[in-house]
Amino acid sequence: MKWSKLWSWLWIVLGGLYFILPLVATFEFSLRAKKDQLSFLAYQRLFADPQFFQTFLFSVLMGLLTIVISILLIVPTAYWIRLKLPKVRVVVEFISMLPFVIPAIVLVFGMIRVFSGPPFYLTDTYTGNTVLLVGGYVVLALPYTYRAIDTGLSAIDVRSLTEAAQSLGAGWGTILFKIIFPNLRVAILSGSFLTFAIVMGEFTLASFLVGIKAFGPYMSLIGQNKTYESSSLAIISFALTWAAIWVMQLLNRGQSERQLTGGR
């Protein structure tokens, strides 16, 4: 018994070091902008950079748009399928896994090919590129948002709620927005935080569609010419991811721990 415990601790310590060492090293590095003394100078410089806030806000906005569109698209669909088209569920489940088969770089490649020419010409305009970016993010987040919402729906009795609402005279809009959405708020929130974490650091789609406007490409640019600032960006980015995942796990507490990742 004693041995097996020691063995367990050994692996935890090993993996724990792998987790923590890069964080410690990065944090320490980010404090070395001033010669011979530790300081938050790199952070101050970052926060003084207007581009930091512009790109950060842009990505926050993209994240929020992605979340809203994902919810508006997936909740009614998943609800409707449970109610009326149970056989289609397998198909939608399969579709929701497609981003695992089509990597982001391939997705953006195809998007550029389709939408840069007639009849769309979306890549010619700022709005067009933003539409493509958000559309792509909704796709990338699909496995997580769909899973979260579908799990949430399985916990409520969709049919009874619908029939009760209908017998009281509610229309589809009322049922969706006053009954289904409120009942799914935990599932929706937990999916949203993961989506947000994915969008904030996303680089592949952003760099080809909107370039330096988004936070991911901005981080990359800083990395090319500012050593200490790039470390502080890594710390900020890690803190953001941490906060998002932590809130998500708080919301999911008591439910299964199964989740996957995205946004390589």
Binding site: P22, T77, V101, I105, V106, G201, A234, S237, F238
Partner: protein, 306 residues
């Protein structure tokens, strides 16, 4: 109750129920109208781009049908990009899989206190999502030429870079990928380990098996499809990675994603359609991994109800 509970009621069962639906759907058309927006969205943002690449990979520069692009993929200079990507994905899937499995084992069956498990679960959730540009920065600060670990090891008399190591090489990139690979393994293998029943161990011990025999003859054979399935997912996870490799090595290592990236920026292959074929090849590899994953997952469900 002899009937197994079904996921979602089928329409025929529903009509058999006592109360009729309050408002039955007027027609088949209105039934499908409800899912139209979703399928339309998927068609525009997933199907169209995929089909476009697919068709493009079978065309020459004038738009005529050809197999030449796909045949060209076998040429060493292009096949090599796949090969490097496959190798790095294999290495990090196996190594990350083993480390992740051992950690998951430690917190599920290893008798460690409960708080270790909850910390590990949060850490894994965060680290498996911490990838791309900031991850590359973190590893430069750790194992780069002036990185903390490099400097500490130097002070201890071990000079990493003199002994041939470089963060900007195959192995350096593998170490970096490991940061999101093994936490993902922890997350996806933990339910399988939770599914191992105590009774099996007790039964084995009652029959006189020691711990080693239990693991090699009972637990590992049961877990093997899950472990392999999770490793296949890890493989796919690093196969499609782009941002991490690009920002760490600046495209120095010719991963397939990096090649496609440069192709999008400026036709480095001097053949647009060859680029589409390379992307199509990626989708093929990924599809294959998913097929293997589903096969293994069905095998694993024979014993483990997750």
């Amino acid at each position: 109750m002899s009937n197994k509970p079904l996921p979602g009621l089928t329409p025929t069962e529903n009509t058999k129920r006592d109360a009729p639906q309050a408002r039955p759907a007027k027609s088949v058309v209105s039934k499908w109208l409800g899912v139209l927006p979703f399928f339309l969205f998927i068609f525009i943002f997933v199907v169209l781009p995929s089909i476009s690449l697919f068709i493009g990979s079978f065309q020459d520069s004038k738009g005529n049908f050809t197999f030449k692009n796909l045949v060209d993929l076998v040429k060493p200079e292009y096949a090599n990009a796949y090969w490097v990507t496959i190798r790095i994905s294999l290495v990090t899937a196996v190594a990350g899989g083993i480390l992740g499995f051992m950690m998951a084992y430690a917190v599920t069956l290893g008798g460690l206190p409960r708080w270790v498990r909850s910390i590990l679960s949060t850490f894994s959730g965060v680290a498996s999502n911490f990838a791309g540009v900031p991850l590359a920065f973190a590893f430069v600060a750790t194992l780069g030429r002036t990185g903390m670990v490099t400097v500490i090891l130097k002070a201890l008399g071990v000079n990493l870079y003199d002994s041939g190591f470089s963060l900007y090489s195959f192995w350096g990139l593998s170490l970096t990928y490991m940061y999101f690979q093994f936490p993902l393994m922890v997350l996806i293998i933990t339910p399988a380990l939770d599914g191992l029943r105590k009774e099996w161990r007790e039964a084995a011990e009652n029959l006189g098996a020691n711990s080693f025999q239990y693991w090699t003859k009972v637990a590992l054979p049961i877990l093997m499809p899950s472990i392999l399935g999770c490793m296949v997912l890890l493989f796919g996870n690093s196969f499609g990675a782009y941002a991490t490799a690009l920002s760490l090595t600046g495209g120095f290592i010719n991963l397939i994603t990096v090649v496609i990236g440069s192709q999008i920026k400026g036709d480095v292959l001097h053949n647009v359609n060859l680029g589409y074929a390379m992307a199509f090849g990626m989708v093929l590899v990924m599809s294959l991994t998913m097929v293997i994953y589903y096969f293994l997952r069905r095998r694993s469900e024979r014993w483990l109800r997750q």
